[in-house]
Symmetry: D3
Subunit: 301 residues, 6 copies
Amino acid sequence: MSKKIENDPASASILVEALPYIKRFHHKKIMIKYGGHAMIDDEAMSFTARDTVLLKYVGMEPIVVHGGGPEITRSMNKMGKQPKFIKGLRVTDEETMEIVKMVLVGKINTNIVSKIGFHGGKGVGVSGKDSELILASKKAPHKILNIVTGEEEEIDLGLVGEISSLNTEIIEMFTDNDHIPVISPIGIDEKGDTLNLNADTVAGEIASEVMAEKLIILTDVPGLLKDPNDPNSLIKKIKIDEVDNLIEKEIITGGMIPKIETCVKAIEGGVKSVHIIDGRVKHSLLLEIFTTRGVGTMITK
Amino acid sequence: MSKKIENDPASASILVEALPYIKRFHHKKIMIKYGGHAMIDDEAMSFTARDTVLLKYVGMEPIVVHGGGPEITRSMNKMGKQPKFIKGLRVTDEETMEIVKMVLVGKINTNIVSKIGFHGGKGVGVSGKDSELILASKKAPHKILNIVTGEEEEIDLGLVGEISSLNTEIIEMFTDNDHIPVISPIGIDEKGDTLNLNADTVAGEIASEVMAEKLIILTDVPGLLKDPNDPNSLIKKIKIDEVDNLIEKEIITGGMIPKIETCVKAIEGGVKSVHIIDGRVKHSLLLEIFTTRGVGTMITK
Amino acid sequence: MSKKIENDPASASILVEALPYIKRFHHKKIMIKYGGHAMIDDEAMSFTARDTVLLKYVGMEPIVVHGGGPEITRSMNKMGKQPKFIKGLRVTDEETMEIVKMVLVGKINTNIVSKIGFHGGKGVGVSGKDSELILASKKAPHKILNIVTGEEEEIDLGLVGEISSLNTEIIEMFTDNDHIPVISPIGIDEKGDTLNLNADTVAGEIASEVMAEKLIILTDVPGLLKDPNDPNSLIKKIKIDEVDNLIEKEIITGGMIPKIETCVKAIEGGVKSVHIIDGRVKHSLLLEIFTTRGVGTMITK
Amino acid sequence: MSKKIENDPASASILVEALPYIKRFHHKKIMIKYGGHAMIDDEAMSFTARDTVLLKYVGMEPIVVHGGGPEITRSMNKMGKQPKFIKGLRVTDEETMEIVKMVLVGKINTNIVSKIGFHGGKGVGVSGKDSELILASKKAPHKILNIVTGEEEEIDLGLVGEISSLNTEIIEMFTDNDHIPVISPIGIDEKGDTLNLNADTVAGEIASEVMAEKLIILTDVPGLLKDPNDPNSLIKKIKIDEVDNLIEKEIITGGMIPKIETCVKAIEGGVKSVHIIDGRVKHSLLLEIFTTRGVGTMITK
Amino acid sequence: MSKKIENDPASASILVEALPYIKRFHHKKIMIKYGGHAMIDDEAMSFTARDTVLLKYVGMEPIVVHGGGPEITRSMNKMGKQPKFIKGLRVTDEETMEIVKMVLVGKINTNIVSKIGFHGGKGVGVSGKDSELILASKKAPHKILNIVTGEEEEIDLGLVGEISSLNTEIIEMFTDNDHIPVISPIGIDEKGDTLNLNADTVAGEIASEVMAEKLIILTDVPGLLKDPNDPNSLIKKIKIDEVDNLIEKEIITGGMIPKIETCVKAIEGGVKSVHIIDGRVKHSLLLEIFTTRGVGTMITK
Amino acid sequence: MSKKIENDPASASILVEALPYIKRFHHKKIMIKYGGHAMIDDEAMSFTARDTVLLKYVGMEPIVVHGGGPEITRSMNKMGKQPKFIKGLRVTDEETMEIVKMVLVGKINTNIVSKIGFHGGKGVGVSGKDSELILASKKAPHKILNIVTGEEEEIDLGLVGEISSLNTEIIEMFTDNDHIPVISPIGIDEKGDTLNLNADTVAGEIASEVMAEKLIILTDVPGLLKDPNDPNSLIKKIKIDEVDNLIEKEIITGGMIPKIETCVKAIEGGVKSVHIIDGRVKHSLLLEIFTTRGVGTMITK
């Protein structure tokens, strides 16, 4: 089932070179946001699961929050339901919410948990409803300008929520008992209704709450690029007080803006570093953690 | 949010009358199989959830295994997929398995967990994949006689499994930490693939494994009836060595046969009593536990 | 040994109605002052004991402090010793102290503990001497005006004490280990001598020290009455800052004054609510805890 | 408050000589039966209490069971009630039982606990009713021969019991938490009624149950004497299989017979040695434990 | 302070290939016998220490027993004392024993502990005297034939001992508390005197006692060789029942005989596999553990 | 193996007189600095070890730091190496350091540990390298005036260090697990090199860090003397603010100055009292602890 390490000291020395990182992150929580766009195929998911199990075995405490946008859209299409977005947020009526729940919790989460189990980890699926992990409230309607009438209109996003409070004791119970929690980004409101949440935000806020050392966001881009069309224009490192300037200069734009804001908030909440990396690249997770230079873009204080 | 107990001693004495049962089942595990046919509407599910929370608060350790057949069928129909059954077992191809998983784990399980949370309990959803709770293997093909050819034919049920082994430590971790586990009846095989399992069997085997005191099966019938058309013909109590006789006499027939066999196996596995009751009746769960005569049919050694 | 709950949902729903209270007081300490005048007969004591056991089984932490004035007086009379009171306080010479100790610790306390045991609880008798729970010092002599001489005279109350300090770790040890402590109100001074203490004060101060949620005083009146002769003039609720006014208006008078002052001190010490109720009424304890309106007089901040 | 050890090595060496015994009995339970006849005055009780506290501080686990016959008789006389004995057993009607309880639990027990507290130990009073420590049943009536009629007659001893079963978990809880339990020899029957028990028997059976290393019986004789009138005829050591012979030879007679039988039973129950010593002699307890030859009579296997 | 892993997936995949071994030996005890002849220089010792720390960080429980023969001989020479051996055993008079103790405990052990600490591990030095870890007794004198007289003579080896019993609780305390114990092979006899022990034997017997998974013996040969002069004649694997045959055939000879016998005894005592490897080769420890084929000679059941 | 306590109460009462001290120091840490000059012979060391074991058994937590100057000098002489001192500090080149380590850790420490074990204690040897207990740095060179040249010269003391920081968790682990740690005064610097430390300083700083109640320094003088030639001129008690005055008056001189300064620092660091006593006197340790007047010189706030 497993290949062998070449039987010569050169190969073994790679293990030894990982030692400083293994020490530095010993018993530290590592929050992994596994984005839907990084789940390109079953093999990629299997690789990410195995890397996560490795982190656990060498003494870290990985926690996974997953996304699933593309898969939700595929399922909606299959059921003949037209997805609708406003400024990147999925308008979520009750029927959509049911599909979101089924895809995230019933399909993607169980899939990741299976793969973690297959590679020898004790994965355990969690949603924001379990032990009321994520209490949320409905997001205020979006205000947009109707260019015909010139008036501001409110557009209700439906069952899209924002986090009110977190009860992470269940997460600590899992990490303290050798498990790897895999979290679906849905929340519960005070009436017991389900709300659709942004997975980056969930990962960031839980990372702060459990005092994670790192938040690693697995996406489908190499990181933050100066020129989005040039993968060689990667920005390796930014500090949170440089962010505003980068937004002004339109280097950070569009959907990257809320993502980066989540990162900034996580850092302000106590996470030591946030990393945006390309989750489609094999072992990018390990390369980020076990190498001096890391990969992707690192955001720090 | 809650009504009041009438302010006179007669009413309060009902609480005191529950005391012997509260004592008898103190710190005892109570396995509740919540059948799909008993989930008649949202209000009924809410009642069952609340009764379950009450059991937890008065010192018992309820564990829920849920079914979901009718809901799965509804979802398949919605997606234009025709359900197929052989001798009561759902033929489960890969596409069906995906739907089963999404409905059980993503919809019904999260729904029950939400309702438990709403009533003040710490529900937590679990599937057989979490921490590899249920290891299963594919069921052997069904052999049936082709009446045309006169030959025996094998019919493959697809991804239908039977339990190989259980790792219930995660369940004990939940009950020891004040949680109410809610279990979806799906298993994982050695390749990491998902298998569809019979919920009664899952409830029965986990009940034995965790040494539950009682297994209560919430169905849509009042219990075992001498005459299926006469609800007054309820058999209140049977011993497991009377079962064969009842099958011979065709009092236990059809789908009730495997259900009763599961009950017998649970009793043989150490569960003190099994109860088949009508889960659609308000508070039937409480009436079973807190009254001398109980409700439905009780099966014991 | 126990009656049954009627086998219909209406009866079971009473249990469910108790749920919000069971939740609210889960793992909370409930201090019960069981006054000597409320111990009208053996059956009444048995009822109170059983209600106390029920509180324990549904997850609360009851602690009992008992009185015993009438029984002490009876025993003194039997031994041909004349009880003597000054302003409601028993003058306690050494011989009286011996009788007080024997009656409280040897008779009433063991009696309550037996009844708790009989109803399935783990009662355990404690006096202020056990593990030096209550360190006390002799009360200063009472000063009264001799109306003949016109001079102030000091009257020594003898072995009557007031609490100097509490070592409640033994109480926490009991409640943490599933026991119901039953406390006799006697203290020990620095020379090792025994002192007679006021049971209300003991209940109030221990309630504060162990951060009890409620202090329930079981007496032989329905609560605080506007007109002591009219049981219908019950004051249902007062706030501690209304007390002075009520004393001025002579609604609170005589022996009720120190009792209410004890209640005020308990509230100031952190107890959420104090209740003066008629302990002679069957299940008054349960009705206080499990009903919206409660019974008797509630004192709060 | 304390005298000094002479400031020369000779004196200090006594401490060192105690070391082997301190080691041998480290964390071992030492059951001390403190007989009523050994409680000759307040000073003697204070000495015994202090020695007991010393045992605790040097690492042993002393447990005290006390008697109180002489004091009960004094109290009965004071209340004008005539004590009655049959073959050394007190005939115990309900009124006597009340007095027994009050004297044992309310007076002697609290007195010992106070003295232990005064010397710096955490004494805690326990009776057989606490946490149902001692379940007992009524002793069968005594059969005696009426020498007038020549017929056998039954004489009911009243509320005199024998031990049915012990729940010593409360005792272990105390010793595990640094307390010295002081036990009054009364039991509780299945109806919740109190029964008068023989203190030697209670000490012996609890000693077996908690696996005590030693049972030390503090009496008012120097031990077992060959000639009861000659204190120099002390038998220093007997083995349990010599007992029958000594009874036959009438060296063990009268009230000493049941006492010795209790010792034999304790040894058979696993106690390593039983010691009958003169509790009136200052520090006899320490001399027994910390010297090679010990004092009094030692009974072993 | 540490080099980097090459920033490409190929390099990272070596980590992943170690995963199966990390899993297999998770929380397993690995006994490492670090022989004196393998300690060729400071750098080699530093490498071995670092590899040991790595094992600890990835979840194993390494325990080190060290030798030190060459260093003892060097020190004796320096002090002008002539070492003397009989059949490979050092004749140990009192003066030699002092030197042995000083070199093993004071020099080599502290040196290894320092190096473990330098690489981030919590090393802790232990000798057989600590907490009486190794109780030993003097070895019987060696009998040899005097070829001149033709008579058997006894030659006393002096303070050379053999293990009587082990108290490994201190070892478990260290491994349970994140420490790496480093053990010097000296024992203590019942008079408190120190005895010189064979380090292989100490490693083997402690390995059995603590139920180690592996015993790895770091020597200065590549393993067991068919032809001692040909390093390519390495025997990769033998079973313990082949050993006698190999001795007979004189493939195992001389000092290798007792070494192999120690291995056999360890396997019989429950250790899963023993490995004789060349400790002078960089990372041989890691190559043994993290590769399929391992290095050196493996001995199993 | 042990003598007996005289079989009369007078002798036993000495034990009772120790009770107040046993109580006062219960579970308190007692740091014992066992100076090299107090180790006059094997019997003296054995006595000190036995007294230390007694302290442990009666409930205190002794910790030993030992010296060894005379023994180091003896060993150096034996190896033909000339010891060199500057102002009482041993100039420590690498070869000397090796000898220091071997003598302290390999000889004296193991010797004390053996003796503690022999008397029934669980001694465990520790050096500053174990679990990096003592991190140190090289002391700055000594500046002395060259009286010939009239210039200030720097004299390097070599591998003599001063404490940078302490990691005493290993010490607490030992005392919490019934062990008596015996500490050799060597430290480790950031490069992993060993440094020679002053044992008084090590004892004083660890005493502060672990919040010891007492620091007892066993020396070869009766304490601080007004007239060094008159043993009757002992100063029984000084307060730390009197020290400067005594130095000025030249009552504290020479090597006693740094010793007293260490004591002052320990008191300022939270140790309640420091005692300088004559460790050569039999049982001086016990006499200090168990007598009112103590022995030697006591230093307090």
